[in-house]
Symmetry: C2
Subunit: 261 residues, 2 copies
Amino acid sequence: MTDEVKEFTILRVTEHGMSEVEDVVVREFPLTIIFNHQELATLLCTPKDLKHLAIGFLSSEGLIENKKEIRKITLDNRRGVVRVETEGDKGVATEPLFKRIITSGGGRRAAFYSAADITNQARVESQIKISTGEVFALAKEFQHRSHVYRATGGVHSAALCDTKGILLFAEDIGRHNAIDKIFGECMLKDIPTDERIIITSGRVSSEILLKIVKRNIPMLISLAAPTDIAVDLAASLGITLIGFVRGRKMNVYTEGWRCTA
Amino acid sequence: MTDEVKEFTILRVTEHGMSEVEDVVVREFPLTIIFNHQELATLLCTPKDLKHLAIGFLSSEGLIENKKEIRKITLDNRRGVVRVETEGDKGVATEPLFKRIITSGGGRRAAFYSAADITNQARVESQIKISTGEVFALAKEFQHRSHVYRATGGVHSAALCDTKGILLFAEDIGRHNAIDKIFGECMLKDIPTDERIIITSGRVSSEILLKIVKRNIPMLISLAAPTDIAVDLAASLGITLIGFVRGRKMNVYTEGWRCTA
């Protein structure tokens, strides 16, 4: 965990007064992604699993379809640069990236919000079911895994699960990055995502929901809130969206037939 | 609040079992900003105070320096487009925007992380002081103001304050947007920010800290965690950074001389 946090001397105020204490703060690291010799983006992230992050980001953005395309990944940790080269040196047009600039937390371009784009996305047809007890057990295991969060309160977590437990786990200061790290690891290690579940500590916006549906995942569990567009998209794309899992309570927003008592 | 939330029929699970209930979910709205006839960015945001958001965003990005420059603001609520025109039709080069793409939550370009950029920024020299009791009182008032949050759990809040109370308040699904709404309102209504305080519900990354220092604000209070770069920047730029205000506890990360018992 040494790379992920930094120690500071701070002033702590409690009912008993003020005192100087040592405290750890989560690190923020700028990672520049160079894709086929073209500078693509700089992500502010937690400096861990950076190759997973780069590949997951490129895959979420539709620039890499599968592992076979990847010719080379070079990470320069000191300079904060990861270079990814693919077969055929696929380039990126400037125009779509230019439009993709700034959103609530990650950069989905507005064009995706047209009806045409969403109807191009196939519904997730999985028949997977989960009991409410299994959801609560997954959420409990998930919260125990977040070591950096417990130390600093400053990161989001994401996990790939099946109904019985957590398969992959990632943390990052960005909720988008944590999920991209999971999907990057899946691609690099040939781990299938069909019939599996994603848990996130963060809010579920349309951008997060679209990352999930791209991987044909039938169920998304959040400890926090969804937005209206995320709920609408989950309904139309056949994804079971669960939010506000806290203690023995939760909200099932869509496709509740996959949840059993 | 009708524009900011949407009602859904959901399945609520509690200790007593499952039941169908009506629940409200926070809305997510894509707002495209067209600056001097050039499409600049699409922000995913809460559809309220959209002119404030557009002006605050443009000001944070350094594209508008003061109110006098603004010739016209036209908001098309139905299409989600705001057009801002300035004197002299200042344009935007594609290259810097292209580099500003995607970060943990808003899009600060990586170039800002060079030492040169930070040393160009003047230290905040304010002699303002605040008592710990005043911080706790501000945080309490701040939490009471967040109506949408209390209804949906899905938004961030930001406020401009002095030591005695809240002057301006804004909410948004994005923590960057909430702060930009405050600064946009300040610019449009000629409200000074010197010697004032910003409170945010969200985490403090370097991007948030830089928005604050640009407005010469000496004190930033967060209910959540900062990152290491935010703490380092606050120290070198003379900003009092307070985090984790919860009940009667808080952490003062930098410039603690402005806090009195």
